[in-house]
Amino acid sequence: MNFDLDQDQRDAAAGAKEFFTEQASPGAARQALEGAGPVRPGRKALADIGFLGITVPESAGGGGGSLLDLAVVAEQGGAVLAGPSLVTAARAAVLLADQPELAAQLADGSAAFAVVDGSPDGSAPSIDAADATTFLALDGTALVVGEGEATPGKPMDATRGLANVRLTSRRVLVEDAGELWARARLAGAVVLAAEDLGAADRAVALGVAYAKEREAFGRPIGSYQAVKHMLVDAWAGVEQLRSLVWWAAWAADAAPEEFPLAAAAAKATAASALERAAETLIQVHGGIGFTWEHDAHLFWRRAKVDRFLLGDEAEHLDAVARLAVAGALG
């Protein structure tokens, strides 16, 4: 058994960390929320470095990588609350598996894609739809591509680019696309969980660092068990989430029969792990953690939004149970 990243994946994660740390930050997420700046790194930078095409076949100009290759990069984006989300890249790459021209446009960034959740005539809030120009949607049972009008709501987390979409044109790509659509949504859920993993990991690290330096009653607050145990529980949740994200991302390509259960378990766990990490980060900081200037609420906003995207915890726990009862565990 070898349940670890390989050297290439570790190198990719290190490179991604460097890129995202330079290009994005919770500070930039705050500015975007204030309408004072763009979501960073933005589509062009992500396309230029090749992250939008990691799972697009090489023949279509992509990296020909696995979902796990994409997930380790997405984790680093999550750590600094980067946008747009690599969820869109993951989903679109699955949907466009037999559309090399469109897949090439996804990879090189020449078209700004979003995948639309819900009805193409009036969708649910969809990730990165706010500034997209090319929409993929499920119209009945058919996969369609087209242009549309995106109406953003008031953002709770501006980096997610959420908007409701109405398609204004559509062209059928695949007639009977139900199964393909479901698989793409699960791939997206795993990458969302990977971004949540990065955000949760960073939130715990910030909480731990503060608990070591802030003193109360003559000693660092991290020495008190009430604070210490809160941070440990958040950290343990992050480590458990990491295991599920890696397993699910690996299964997407290597063990398709395990993938639906693994992806549902990862997404359900991501919702609670990031929420706990972000709420712990605020609590450990006390009053300062509840200020606009502090970064804690940006992690909290990400948690409060992501838990509902691509299915909430209850939906995915129900799926885990149904799949397990149907024999998915062997």
Binding site: L5, S223, W246
Partner: protein
């Protein structure tokens, strides 16, 4: 990333499987849906099971050959554990000896002790127990009071141990004592091997909340232990005990058959019970089942990550405590979901047809959050040694034990018994 056996591992697995099939008649098995039998009540069967497995090289897989082991790898040990579980063979009677006492003898024992004890331990000719906890020192293990006083070539031991698993069937135990009360609490301890049949050793079973009697209190009244049975130097007992505790947390599947508490077992149970619930009950039960399965798989795959590090020569670290914490949480969720699936019968200690599997499982779990380090002590270890958070002040750490130290303490390592 790869979860498959290498060709070598696959060959070893099929060897293990064929040994278990060949000797099936001589081994204890647990029928599906049954609880593991009490080793004390079926002592002869359990000892025979372990002896047969040892004679076929399936016990002490990672132990050095010179001590009767196989000199094998952690991966091989894990494969054996998986196959024992698959064959529905319950935890070996000597799991404490194999997991904790034996490795401590290997690390700190004299050549004479190693040759006298280790091979017999593997075959369950001798069953071992671990005599650590006392009525006044559980989590704060180093505050223990059982004394050993030098008397010529012997030591005279007086005191009491408690929560000692398997003491009522054990032949030997590793015993942590205080030999120098004038020194600070961690510095005055010494470890011994004690003959559980020696004059002055009294074992009294304690009935547990679930009804069974798996652990005991053990009294020492002027028990004479030869100096040759000392494990490590006088005053080095804490360092020796840390070897035991470290092994306790990295005994990868040594005793780890998860009979009755795996997500697979819960899924099978749910398959049978869900249809008899109302649609509303089914939806709620599925939430409980999904949560339990997700938690169990998260713990399992986190264990795989740790195992990968160990199998590539990594050193087991304090993060192993997270495995126990996660396992306890997952087990509680599995038991809760299992009981919930019984519907109205969940409030009785057994179903109408007499099945008490899930109720018994539920009643066993509070102990899991205490034994081998409470959830709270494990969080202290993780917070301080993994996250690097500062310890709580400990007023007794440097004071002589006899000066009344030991009333306030911070991070310590809990132990099972």
């Amino acid at each position: 990333m790869d979860f498959d056996d290498t060709p070598d591992e696959a060959a070893f697995r099929s060897h293990v499987r064929s040994v278990l099939e060949q000797h099936a008649d001589e081994l204890v098995h647990v029928a599906p849906g049954e609880q593991s039998p009490d080793p004390a009540r079926h002592e002869a069967d359990f000892r025979r099971t372990e002896r047969v497995l040892a004679e076929n090289g399936l016990v002490g897989v990672t132990w050095p050959r010179e001590h009767g082991g196989q000199g094998g790898t952690l991966v091989q040990q894990a494969i054996v554990a998986q196959e024992l579980s698959r064959a529905r063979i319950p935890a070996l009677i000597n799991h404490i000896g194999l997991g904790m006492c034996g490795p401590t003898v290997i690390a700190h024992g004299s050549d004479d002790q190693k040759s006298r004890y280790l091979a017999r331990l593997l075959r369950a000719d001798d069953v071992w127990c671990q005599l650590f906890s006392e009525p006044a020192s559980g989590s704060d293990l180093a505050a223990l009071r059982t004394s050993a006083v030098r008397d010529g070539e012997d030591w005279i031991v007086n005191g009491q141990k408690v929560w000692t698993t398997l003491a009522h069937v054990a032949d030997y135990g590793i015993l942590l004592t205080r030999t120098d009360p004038s020194r600070p609490k961690h510095a005055g301890l010494t470890m011994f091997v004690v003959d559980m049949h020696a004059p002055g050793v009294t074992v009294r079973p304690l009935r547990q909340m679930a009804g069974g009697a798996g652990f005991n209190e053990v009294f020492f009244d002027d028990v004479r232990i030869p100096d040759a049975e000392r494990l490590g130097e006088p005053g080095e007992g804490w360092r020796v005990a840390l070897t035991t505790l470290m092994n306790e947390r990295v005994t990868i599947g040594g005793a780890g058959t998860d009979l009755g508490l795996s997500p697979e077992v819960l899924a099978a149970h749910a398959r049978g019970r869900l249809p008899s619930l109302t649609p509303e009950q089914q939806a709620l039960a599925r939430q409980a089942v999904g949560r339990a399965v997700a938690a169990a798989l998260a713990t399992r795959y986190t264990g795989y990550r740790r195992f990968t590090v160990l199998s590539q020569g990594g050193i087991p670290g304090p993060e192993a405590s997270a495995g126990k914490l996660g396992g306890t949480t997952a087990a509680k969720l599995i038991a809760d979901a299992g009981v919930r699936l019984l519907g109205d019968e969940a409030v009785y200690a057994a179903t109408a047809d007499g099945d008490d599997t899930w109720q018994k499982t539920q009643a066993y779990l509070p102990g899991l959050a205490i034994a081998g380090g409470t959830d709270q002590v494990l969080r202290n270890i993780l917070g301080e040694r993994v996250l690097g958070l500062p310890p709580e002040p400990r007023t007794d750490k440097t004071a002589p034990f006899s000066g009344g130290a030991g009333r306030l303490s911070g991070r310590v390592d809990g132990s099972e018994s």
